[in-house]
Amino acid sequence: MRKVLTFENIILNLKRFWQKKGCLLFEPYNSEVGAGTFNPATFIRVLDEKPWKVCYVEISKRPRDGRYGENPNRTQQYYQLQVILKPAPKDIQKMYLESLTSLGVKLNEHEVKFVEGDWEAPTLGAWGLGWEVWLDGLEVTQFTYFQQAGGVDLKVIPVEITYGLERIATAVQDVGSMFDLKWNNDLTWGDVYRQNEVEFSRYNFEESDPKLLTELFDQYEREATRAFKQGLVYPGYDYAIKCSNVFNLLDARGVISISERANMIGRVRSLANQAAQLYITSLPGSTEEKQEKND
């Protein structure tokens, strides 16, 4: 049998690749998030004009996507490898293609297709333009030039590259199910996570307590607001993230109506926008001052 690149080595290769491109190797956030974008290393750091290059793995929790471990390609929890480069380098597309090569994907033996995708994170007041990247038809990455975050127009445009690690690994290892991915030479992804999937699917869909979650949402929202009033960006934003996760849990439980859903998304977005505003206004030296200096 041919030697496969294990899941953990895929992660290592990508980290090494981006480290060589000058990225700071960061770590996941300590709270449940739906995407690596929520991590302050992305959401907060893209707001200012200072250069920032970072690479980290994030656990993405999407309660609605749970399938009790029965769907080969869909789970309520998976890994993303998140790369932020600010400002976006002009040869970024080439860099990205090289990162695929670092995983043994030869461009002359595969099709890499950039499929138009306008990206939007409504709970973060963020949007950008870019693509889904398909490797032989499988979406393995989202590639986005951020235009706005926390409702703020970004002055320096960052590029966000988000690899779906399990997706790309199934392509690299040539397996049909993410549960069959070789994590290392002894264990599969399924060995590590199947039970977790079964239990969380049951919890998310059947057992979570909507009343408690609704209360938590309200309380987290209040605490976020209180922290912002004290001028505390990170602690306030931390509670905004918690709101977002609680919202996802409620959504999965199927207890929020269409219009209530829009309302709650709006409330989380408002918190994210406050965090962004507060961060910008608390930067040393206002934009005007800086401009004078430059002149």
């Binding site: 976006a88 033996e109 595969h110 499929v115 038809g137 030039y145 235009q147």
Partner: protein
């Protein structure tokens, strides 16, 4: 003669407006060349997913020389008595660097003036292009743009290189932080090494070696050829549209094709599901009715096996999901899904989805045609599929209604109900198909009208660009389906009935205003002129299909001179009636002159005929009839003084005019028609 190449290299462009953008660039470039008197033999537009541009062959090296005339002072102050140039003229000549031989006299409306007339040599084409090309690029318009670098330039996707080559010389203008040069880029599946171009004529060939077929027409043919080759002897009919091939053309640089196949068991799924899966997975082409599909891709031929395996896997996974949802939905049944709509809020303050469906099931008795029992039941179940697993999945939300139809066929075992549910979202967009069954059309109108009224009642009225619930589109849909499916129910009756079912009220006129706008838009789209629409709507009673027929008949008559005279007559009538409030009946005893009596007789006869013709909706004949009254009316106005001194006579004549007017406005208010040359 020289050649010119402009190529704007970018990251993958949105396919929906790539072609338009490339055509626009060509158009603007040609305009600039013409305006600057630069001649050329031919132009060719090129585009792929990663570049667009123009090749111009056989350009002149210089602009054509031009004679210009500059107006100077009036002749009488330009020359003295001895015909010598005055100081004024000398000043003019100095300012514009003119010789005495270049001074001519021109006659103008304001008298004779001197002019400086000189020949200006043409500038270099190169200089013109250097100036103009960045401006042309800047003037391109896009539906959506982004920023990506410090230049702050807005473009649909980042521009990464620009080739601007005039014969052997690059025109090094700057745009978006890039300096144009002679280097293009190949297809990245082939290489990442820039392609150096010595001259434009090398371009197509060199790029082809780099894995790029730049000519869109050639590439489109190649796509179709590749599809044919891939199919080979596989049976089945390739299911694709021109739009699909166009989109593929905008997403490729070097098309290849391969077939894939999925498990036979998925052929149990409704066709629409299979088509949706294949479409969203990259415009894959189904070889109906087999379990095979064709995938057009843009990479090296060597990738064929990986592409086949990859797409097959993705398609299988999607079909697996779809199959899973479908089985679960069938096991659950439409009845249970409908039960769940009770827990799903529709619009804030207006109850659940079930409440909406229930209201619609009461409402549909307003429609006289079709199978009333089936229609009522279809209304009651038409929102159930929104709670199906299939439609709740984002890849399949577009199958709302369609899935409901399938589930209804199984659960309710009634084809009429199934068809009505299936069709009731139609038309989804402008140009979409209309419902084909009577029940489907009725349900479509009921749903859309309910959406409109619901939005108005729940504080979601459209205003300006704000229309989150697409109320305008729904309103337009009501009008279109009523008109084209020939549903002759008064809109106002429907609105009243529906508001009654809501148990709520809206301010007077608000619905009428809203629908007048939708009607105007619709009738204009259907080819009517605005004054015709205005004339018909002025006396409209609420039957939408009828209004359309009246407009159509009106259009056929309006070119006749007779018709114009009729309209002029009606305008006179309107003016005469403007100040009068008389409403009494005509007293035949007071009809003094023959012209009056004749008009009254003609009117009475016409009225009887009119009622029959209107009932039969023979609008051509109605117009013939009205037209036939024209002469009698004209004679009346020529012979009879309406506003005479005798109060009783005046009153009776006004009553007669109104009597005639009332006949006309049973069809339309003809005085709204604009006569050519008339100031409105």
């Amino acid at each position: 003669m020289i050649d010119f190449l402009i190529e704007i290299g970018h990251e993958e462009f949105p396919p929906s407006f790539l072609r338009r953008t490339a055509d626009d660039l060509t158009y603007r470039l040609e305009e600039v060349l013409k305006r600057n008197r630069i001649f050329y033999r031919s132009v060719r537009t090129i585009y792929t997913s990663r570049r667009f541009g123009v090749i111009v062959l056989g350009l002149t090296r210089k602009q054509k020389p031009q004679v210009i005339e500059i107006q100077g002072p009036p002749k009488k102050i330009a020359f003295d008595e001895k015909n010598k140039p005055t100081e004024k003229l000398q000043g003019f000549m100095k300012t514009h660097d003119l010789k005495r031989t270049e001074i001519v006299v021109r006659k103008t409306k304001k008298g004779e003036y001197v002019c400086g007339r000189k020949e200006v040599a043409g500038g270099l084409t190169e200089d013109v292009l250097y100036e103009e090309i960045p401006r042309i690029i800047q003037s391109l318009e896009f539906p959506k743009t982004m920023r990506w670098n410090a230049s702050g330039t807005r473009f649909p996707r980042p521009v990464r290189w620009i080739v601007a080559l005039l014969d052997r010389r690059p025109i090094r203008f700057k745009y978006a932080g890039i300096t144009a040069d002679r280097y293009s880029m190949p297809n990245f599946h082939f290489s990442y090494k820039p392609i150096r171009l010595e001259k434009p004529r090398e371009y197509m060939n060199f790029l082809r070696h780099g894995g790029v077929v730049v000519d869109p027409n050639e590439r489109r043919k190649l796509i179709l050829k590749r599809i044919k080759q891939a199919i080979g002897k596989v049976p089945g009919k390739p299911l694709y549209t021109d739009a699909m091939i166009d989109e593929l053309n905008c997403m490729t640089e070097y098309p290849e094709a391969v077939t894939g196949e999925f498990d036979q068991k998925y052929l149990d799924l409704p066709e629409e599901v299979i088509v949706t899966v294949l479409k969203t997975q990259g415009d894959l082409i189904w070889l109906k009715p087999t379990n095979k599909f064709v995938c057009v891709f843009s990479a090296k031929k060597k990738a064929l096996q990986n592409v086949k395996k990859g797409y097959t896997r993705v398609v299988e996974a999607k079909l697996y999901d779809a199959h899973f949802y479908y089985q679960n939905d069938l096991a659950q049944g439409l009845e249970k899904m409908n039960e769940q709509t009770k827990g799903m809020m529709w619009l804030k303050g207006l109850g659940s989805l079930y409440d909406k469906a229930f209201r619609m099931s009461k409402f549909v008795s307003v429609f006289p045609d079709g199978d009333q029992a089936a229609l009522k039941k279809a209304a009651l179940y038409c929102k159930a599929d929104l709670l199906s697993q299939m439609v709740r999945e984002k890849d399949f939300t577009s199958l709302q209604g369609i899935m409901g139809g399938h589930y209804a066929a199984v659960s309710l075992k009634d084809e009429k109900i199934a068809a009505a549910i299936k069709e009731h979202y139609l038309p989804n967009y402008v140009g979409d198909a209309l419902p084909r069954t009577q029940e489907g059309a009725a349900l479509s109108v009921a749903d859309k009208l309910d959406n409109v009224i619901g939005a108005f009642l729940s504080g979601n009225r459209p205003s300006g660009s704000y229309d989150p619930l697409a109320v305008r589109r729904n309103g337009y849909g009501v009008v279109q389906v009523m008109a084209e499916n020939g549903i002759h129910v008064s809109l106002f009756t429907m609105i009243e009935r529906l508001l009654g079912l809501y148990g709520k009220k809206l301010e007077d006129g608000v619905m009428k205003d809203f629908f007048s706008e939708r009607m105007t838009r619709y009738l204009a789209d259907a080819g009517s002129r605005y004054d015709e629409i205005k004339a018909v709507l002025a006396t409209w009673q609420g039957d939408i299909a009828d209004a359309r027929h009246r407009c159509q008949a009106l259009a056929k008559f309006r070119d006749k001179t007779e018709f114009n005279k009729l309209v002029i007559g009606q305008k006179r009538v309107r003016n005469i009636l403007k100040g009068s409030k008389e409403t009494g009946a005509v007293q035949t005893g007071l009809l003094k002159s023959p012209a009056e009596r004749k008009l009254y007789r003609t009117g009475t006869r016409a009225l009887t005929q009119l009622e029959v013709l209107l009932k039969q909706k023979k609008y051509g004949e109605v117009l013939e009839l009205l037209l036939s009254m024209r002469e009698v009316i004209d004679t009346f106005f020529d012979d009879v003084m309406v506003m005479c001194d005798d109060a009783a006579l005046r009153k009776n004549r006004l009553a007669l005019v109104r009597y005639i007017n009332d006949i006309f406005i049973q069809y339309a208010d003809f005085s709204e028609i604009v006569i050519e040359g008339e100031k409105s």
